[in-house]
Subunit: 143 residues, 2 copies
């Protein structure tokens, strides 16, 4: 998952892309491999309360990957933030060919020689008046 000669940012970005590839390909084996097996794990899917623990998180992903109608999600606007042996990614998500519809956080931990996913949260982007996500924002009401 990491490559010789690349810095941690590139390796984290590669793990982040591996997560979205497993999601798009509905590849449960790859999805199980990307999530950490020793570090603590949690996940917040859009609209629902947090799931805590590898078992609950992977059960949710099994359900998602079995949905044939689920869109093929692509990731854009990736920013990688490295904090030693933990890193977090902020990015946008959307169905392939469509404007991004979600903002996401992916937290990775260095485990067994690879950057493995320990947490994912995705939440909806508000629909803008002009349909663009890059416009300056009004200050949000809530945090």
């Amino acid at each position: 998952m990491t490559m010789l000669g690349t810095g941690p940012e590139e390796a984290v970005e590669e793990s982040n892309e591996a997560f979205y590839r497993a999601f798009r390909d509905r590849n449960l084996g790859a999805m199980e491999a990307i999530w950490a097996s020793e570090l603590p794990v949690a996940c917040i899917h859009p609209g629902v309360e947090p799931l805590v623990g590898r078992e609950a998180v992977l059960e949710s992903w099994r359900g998602i990957l079995q949905q044939e109608a689920a869109p093929r999600v692509v990731c854009s606007h990736v920013a990688v933030h490295v904090l030693g042996e933990v890193a977090f990614v902020t990015c946008l998500e959307g169905a392939a060919g469509q404007p991004p519809s979600l903002a996401a956080t992916n937290v990775f931990g260095w485990e067994g020689g690879a950057w493995r996913l320990v947490h994912h949260q995705a939440g909806p982007l508000a629909v803008r008046q002009h349909g663009a996500v890059d416009e300056p924002d009004e200050p949000p009401i809530l945090n």
Copy 2:
């Protein structure tokens, strides 16, 4: 911010509560102190794209803390996940006295002898048929 004799989970939970206290009290100085000043910082407010960097993040919080109509947000269902010198919290948020309306991630890094906030994301909980957030979920359509 940390106390002698407590483990990292308790210290992280205390920093998490300090963040919500600064938010509720509209205390900009406390909010500036809770966010890391050396580690990389980002923030995803509900509905909008990620903000990256301490300056952009604190500017957004200055705007939020100036809104007199902003609700007093309380935090519940806190789960702390420690990964060495980084920790992340999953929790629910809501206006005081109301059911939770948001799910949130708060990532903390150990900086200068304290657990300081490096990332926050909050996203809306879906309104449930029976109004309770603790009911079992239907599998979400998107991740």
